[in-house]
Amino acid sequence: MINHETEVENKKAVFVDLQDVWVSYYKKWVLKSIYLKCYQGEIFGIVGPNGGGKSTLLKVILGLVRPQKGVVNLFGHKPDKHNRLEVGYLPQISKADRSFPVTVLDVVLMGLYNRLGFFKRPGNRSREVAMEMLSEINMADHAGKPFGNLSGGQQQRVHIARALASKPKLLVLDEPSTGVDSVAQEDFYELLVKFRDEMNISVIMVSHDIGVITAHADRIACLNLQIHYHGEPDPCFEPEIMQKLYGKDLNVMVHDSKCVTCFKKHEHND
């Protein structure tokens, strides 16, 4: 595995690099000795149970939480205000207020605020960029609509457009499948792949939903305080790793062709 990593490293830039990162909240470790690398142009999934440290890990990558121990590099530097500008961030859908008085276009424009600087207002140029982003996600027709009237899936696509408007190198997604129906989810992940290919950006997403992560990520990490697996999607379903992640009482977590634990259970029953 180490050989494999050096091989990939030679070809592509390392966007995120964590080495022996430890984080504690109120004297309790939430991340223990995390090693993690994410390369340019890959979709990297982090999967694990709730409370397993996924959100904390994202905050560490963004530099919003400082680890007690370890080294964090974002695009080769310590994460700060400046290289954070190269990151597009998507929160969980449910957090945005549905009755907030902005249009779809206004939301996309927000993605450009950090480039505009204080006191300046978005002008025609910004509007053009925002409209371009909306056409990319096939939602140019919705530009003038109130953001709150959109479905969860549409809102998520608008958030993608917002995050991509400032032309980031890395997209960070927190639980992207929350509040989005499965058809919309498929569209959403297709968009991610499209943007990865067109703009050569990387995507880091965390989710407790193994099915979603394994189906769409190029490489994954399984996280429950520690990283239990780091590599290609499939082996995460080894019962041993699943147990470390979710405990012994695990039954069916996901149900697709890759679901090893689920298979075994079925064999048992039949």
Partner: protein
């Protein structure tokens, strides 16, 4: 006159108060101004000055505690609100000037507004409006999604304290008209009423300003002719407008 200057200030501030769900912070800050006024009387200096200092200190303390401590904002408000009122009562007790125009500060007395007050209101009100105008897009972004704003490099903590300071200043300059007890209503109602009938921010702010103007000017005129308390009339009128727009909004959906 003072009402006309204050209306846009209150309307714009209320727009953000409603969006950021800070109504109760407004109530807490308004009451904390009482402690400041009492201190001003005790020290024999301008109560407006001490009220502004008190309100700014309390609003920022509420912001700080709710961000850094293990307390929610409403717990912090509950503590400071009571503390500032208690200090006010103590200060009043210590000063030898009894029954100064406290009632005027509590419930508002438009007739007690001096030319000097008017200048203060115009200056500070203008300052509030200009600073909101300049930082409007950042304030809007933070209100929409704090987390995303933070990640994209918007100075969220600074803007929080900036807005709390503005809120405090707006409370103090409005209190002579509507009073400490009622001013928080005007920091909520224009924005809340406007949000019932429009879902875009520019029309919403414009509507809020119109509502604030109609309530203050209309309320003052009515209170003068009907010989009613000015602050109470203004707040009642603005509430009536809110209920009308609430019903209109329901029918349009």
């Amino acid at each position: 006159m003072a009402g006309i200057i204050l209306s846009p200030v209150l309307a714009v501030v209320s727009f953000f108060v409603v969006l950021r769900r800070l109504s109760f912070v407004g109530v807490g800050v308004a009451h904390s101004a009482f402690g400041g006024i009492a201190l001003g009387f005790l020290l024999g200096i301008s109560p407006t000055l001490t009220a502004i200092a008190f309100a700014i200190a309390v609003s920022n303390a509420i912001g700080y505690i709710s961000r850094h401590g293990r307390l929610s904002a409403d717990t912090a408000i509950g503590i400071f609100f009571a503390l500032a009122m208690a200090l006010g009562v103590i200060f009043i007790g210590m000063s030898d000037q009894y029954n100064v125009d406290l009632f005027g500060y509590l419930f508002g007395n438009i007739l007690a507004i001096t030319g000097e007050d008017l200048i203060t209101i115009a200056l500070l009100g203008g300052l509030v409006l200009i600073s909101i105008f300049l930082l409007f897009k950042e304030l809007l972004f933070v209100s929409f999604d704090r987390e995303v704003a933070l990640v994209s490099g918007i100075p969220v903590a600074f803007l929080d304290h900036f807005f709390l300071t503005i809120l405090a200043v707006s409370v103090v300059i409005s209190m002579k008209i509507v009073g400490i007890i009622l001013v928080s209503a005007l920091l909520v109602i224009p924005g809340a009423a406007a949000s019932q009938i429009t879902d875009r921010y520019i029309p919403m702010i414009a509507t809020a300003i119109a509502i604030a103007l109609i309530s203050t000017v209309g309320g003052l005129m009515f209170s003068y002719y009907a010989d009613l308390a000015s602050g109470a009339t203004i707040v009642t009128l603005s509430s009536i407008i809110f209920f009308i727009l609430f019903i209109v909004g329901k029918f349009r959906k």
